[in-house]
């Protein structure tokens, strides 16, 4: 808690729609409490713009507690932003203004990647991620067909690793940070989550082939193992999930059930 307030210069990407050209617009905003979140600061900007009769800045957000994955803005060149420090990654909604200094100039841009076209201003279309999951990111178990929960024991180590991968919130920061706009970390998180559990085994080979096929088809770039994705992931999905994906992919080439 503090009583400090900030005066800031915001350089915000404004783009009316998907096909129109966009540009950076500059706004001054003052009296921002250091206790407010970054999105609350944008709320205030929008209140100010509305009162001035200008169009507010469009941005996606929902739960504002760092779990839904809806928010995502590149702040000063870093997806989800870090303020003036480069410590642990977070979601945009969990970035607080105390990370900034009075007088800061903050550049605010949308995720930029061809598979994530801009809808308006800072909001982008991430439906490509849904399509990757639809290509195989599931276990085929119809409702009611499940065996008793204790039928399969799962080693705690594997369950914990699967959980780490399963915490992906699908925000797209990995793609936004990647110099190749690759969606490998997102895809690998699901492959790893399901691939480590006994329930995910029957479809393992087929899953990795279909999901990577869809990933490439949707226009995401390839992986160079640069590590930018994991460095901005708000859920700290580790880079080694990508190696897990690669192992599964190589293994699937030698398995009959990898065909479909």
């Amino acid at each position: 808690m503090s009583d400090n307030t900030l005066n800031l210069t915001l350089r915000v990407w404004r783009q009316p729609n998907r096909n129109a050209p966009g540009k950076i617009e500059e706004y001054k905003i003052s009296g921002i409490s250091t206790d407010s979140s970054f999105l609350e600061m944008l709320d205030e900007l929008n209140e100010q713009l509305t009162v001035e009769g200008k169009e507010p800045v469009a941005f996606d957000h929902d739960c504002r507690e760092g779990i839904c994955g809806m928010c995502g803005i590149v702040i000063n060149g870093v997806p989800h932003g870090r303020g003036n420090s480069l410590d642990t990654p977070t979601t945009t909604c969990q970035l607080h203004m105390r990370k900034f200094k009075n007088g800061d100039v903050i550049t605010i841009e949308p995720w930029r990647a061809a598979p994530f076209p801009v809808i308006k201003d800072l909001a982008v279309d991430r439906s490509a991620f849904d399509k990757i999951i639809q290509a195989g990111g599931y276990v085929s178990v119809p409702t009611g067909a499940a065996p008793e929960a204790h039928a399969n024991a799962v080693s705690k180590l594997k369950a914990d690793r699967a959980f780490d991968a399963a915490t992906c919130i699908g925000c797209g920061a990995c793609v936004a940070a990647c110099p190749n706009s690759s969606g490998m970390l997102f895809t690998a998180a699901k492959i790893t989550h399901l691939g480590l559990l006994p329930q995910g085994q029957p479809e393992r080979a087929l899953r990795v082939k279909r999901m990577i096929g869809k990933h490439d088809e949707l226009g995401f770039g390839g992986c160079q193992n640069l590590g930018e994705c994991a460095a901005v992931c708000p859920k700290s999905i580790p880079l080694d999930t990508i190696s897990q994906l690669n192992r599964d992919l190589i293994a699937s080439l030698f398995k009959g059930d990898g065909k479909h």
Partner: protein, 666 residues
């Protein structure tokens, strides 16, 4: 102008009752109903279209299950992906009567705990079924690959949660809701791939289409292009969540709204028990006027933290570590010596409010409008202190137990809870009320089904911890797919509805008219400023404690605010665009009306029960006092027309399997 008596605000209609639950002993009701329900031949299912609004645990699970069954499903959500529904934010866990701990748990005990926790205001048959299917939910989720917490032996771990005495809560760290939702989302994605479910993300339902008395479709607005479209089907399922955002500040997501439910209400669906709202005691307090939402921290913190405020008002601005022990008031331990800091949610919440009202709150002073219309500065926060626990268990042990919650607190407040006490304050969290449904989850409009938090059915006046996830998935996976067929069995003989049917055209026109009307006002005040004001009225008069005259004041204030809204709101931009201001304005229109209905329901229910506390109905110790003689019923409200009074239909509650008791936590 203001009416003087509560009775002036509503009319009384005919009593109603559930006609679907067979009259059998409670443990045979569900299997009898499943057997008696009419079936739809698999070959006919693909000829039937089910519209499902919402993709959370209830909606997502229902869409996946009905898609698998072979129906043609259209699934809508306002988010950009089905995976983002607010079920994702649930932290604690999900209950199931598995009795894996060998500690006397059973379907009957889960049923009993849920009815008792709901303060005997829920329908017995529905709750029993919830407990019955709970075990299958865990099986289903595990098979989907939900990574529940496990022990070293590889089997599932359980914990005790929400004040019950058995360990029946399954959990996935502090992210159970996320993992369950991702499981449902994966099942849904599989059906999208199979072509049985068609997804409509970034589509908001703005009207219900009723033809010949049956729900036959919805009108949506494409939130990217602004296109207002009608969708026709054979049944409509609303799984649109709760209405906590009527308070503006709540733990709900920013987009959570009640428009779909309220549009159905305006078309004749009954809205039941809106006054049952749950306040969660351990949330991070408000930091200032631009606060946009509140963040919940797991209640488990109260297991080791001690709650206190300074005894002297002048200490409230001091560093809490400098306040000596004798100047601290550990008020819960003082008032409730046997339960102490673990008293139920509503009691802990109310006591925190009293302390702050008395001027003993801590943290930043926030501007409020008092009942006389004057501005006042109030500190809304109490300390939750871990110094004693750290001394007793050591910092490492406390960190192992609560590390992620402490990190979250530090991230949001910038304070270190290991060295300085946390500040907490209650916040609106869950709403037990919702559209009235029968045993089949059908509303009183044939063909309109309601699942999850959006209906009123299972939690009575108060919801137990780890039961929301259970109910959402029970409805979506196991209940609705076994009841909706009873209605759809006849649906092939319904007349076809075309896009230019008068009822469809009328619904589309109504939506477009409201949009035009909102854009035409072109006033001075922003949408959010109205929403914040509505929220502060609701919180002040209809929050943790409600009184007759306060509620009538609130209704009057809401009406005035709504009037001003239509004169002076500023909605920028045009409809044919991605226009988030327009979206919020439309939702607020329905929140005004819902806020009023909520106050009327609270006004009429002159008893305290669960999440509804009427100051006039309390024991000498200040505890909630139920009035079973006069209020043992579900209050289902029928829309009374524009400017008309809502009509109250009572559904008497009959308890056959459980005996009514008054709770006590002293």
């Amino acid at each position: 102008m203001a009416a003087k008596k509560p009775e002036d605000f509503f009319r009384i209609g005919a009593e109603i009752s559930d006609k679907k639950a067979p009259d059998k002993p409670i443990d045979q009701v569900w299997q009898t109903r499943q057997f008696e329900a009419h079936l739809v031949n698999p070959a006919n299912r693909r000829k039937l279209t089910v519209i499902i609004v919402g993709t959370g645990l209830a909606g997502g699970a229902a869409a996946a299950s009905l898609g698998e069954a072979g129906y043609n499903v259209l699934n809508f959500c306002y988010q950009d992906s089905a995976r983002r529904a607010h079920s994702i934010a649930a932290q604690g866990g999900i209950n199931a009567a598995k009795n894996y701990r060998n500690d006397n748990d059973s379907v009957h005990r889960l049923f009993y705990d849920t009815v008792k926790g709901g303060d005997y205001r829920s329908r017995e048959t529905n709750v029993y079924r919830l407990a019955e299917v709970s075990a299958s939910i865990i099986d289903q989720c595990v098979a989907q690959g939900v990574p529940f917490a496990r022990e070293y032996g590889g089997l599932l771990d359980n914990r005790s949660f929400g004040g019950v005495q058995v360990q029946r809560t399954f959990y996935a760290r502090g992210q159970t809701g996320q993992q369950l939702l991702i499981g449902a989302y994966q099942a849904l994605s599989r059906q999208v791939d199979a072509g049985t479910v068609k997804m409509f993300p970034r589509h908001e339902m703005l009207e219900l289409i009723v033809v010949d008395g049956r729900a036959r479709g919805i009108v949506t607005r494409d939130m990217v292009t602004g296109a207002v479209e009608s969708h026709i089907g054979d049944a409509v399922v609303l799984a649109t969540g709760g209405y906590g955002n009527v308070f503006f500040l709540s733990t709900n997501a920013m987009g959570c709204n009640n428009t779909a439910n309220f549009r159905a209400y305006r078309k004749g669906a009954y809205f039941a028990n809106p006054c049952y709202t749950q306040i969660h005691p351990t949330c991070i307090p408000v930091h200032g006027t631009n606060q946009s939402k509140l963040t919940l921290m797991s209640e488990s913190l109260r297991n080791d933290g001690r709650i206190w405020v300074p005894k002297k008002a002048e200490d409230c601005t001091k560093d809490p570590r400098q306040i000596p022990e004798e100047d601290r008031d550990y008020y819960l331990e003082r008032i409730y010596p046997s339960f102490g800091n673990l008293v139920p949610r509503d009691i802990a919440s109310r006591q925190a409010k009293y302390r702050c009202d008395e001027g003993l709150g801590v943290g930043p002073a926030v501007t409020e409008i008092d009942p006389d219309g004057n501005e006042r500065q109030v500190r809304r926060g109490v300390y939750l202190d871990f110094a004693e626990a750290i001394g007793r268990l050591g910092k490492d042990a406390v960190s192992a137990k609560y590390g992620n919650l402490f990190d979250m607190y530090a991230q949001i407040t910038g304070e270190d809870p290991y060295s300085t006490p946390m500040r907490i304050y209650p916040a609106v969290h869950y709403t037990m009320g919702g559209l009235w449904v029968d045993y089949d989850l059908s509303s009183n409009i044939p063909g309109l089904y309601v699942c999850g938090e959006a209906n009123f059915s299972d939690h009575g006046a108060n919801r137990l911890g780890a039961s929301a996830l259970m109910q959402g998935l029970a409805d979506g996976y196991f209940v609705l797919p076994n009841t909706i067929n009873d209605y759809l069995a006849d649906a092939l003989s319904f007349p076809k509805v075309s896009q230019d049917a008068p009822e469809v055209v009328e619904a589309v026109t109504a939506v477009k008219d409201q949009i035009d009307k909102l854009l035409a006002v072109d006033g001075e005040r922003t949408v959010d400023s109205f929403h914040k004001e509505l929220g502060s009225i609701m919180w002040e008069y209809c929050g943790m404690e409600r009184r007759e005259e306060g509620l009538m004041t609130a209704i009057q204030k809401i009406r005035e605010l709504r009037e001003e809204f239509w004169q002076n709101v500023k909605v920028t931009g045009v409809n044919e665009d991605f226009n988030q201001t327009l979206e919020r304005a439309g939702r607020l229109v329905d929140f005004f009306d819902l806020g009023e209905l909520l106050c009327i329901d609270a006004l009429h229910r002159r008893e305290s029960c669960g999440g509804h506390f009427r100051a006039e109905s309390q024991t000498e110790d200040g505890e909630a006092l139920r009035d079973d003689k006069n209020f043992l019923y579900v209050g289902a409200w029928e829309y009374g027309g524009e400017g008309g009074k809502p009509i109250l239909h009572k559904e008497p509650l009959v308890y056959k399997a459980i005996e009514l008791k008054q709770r006590s936590y002293k």
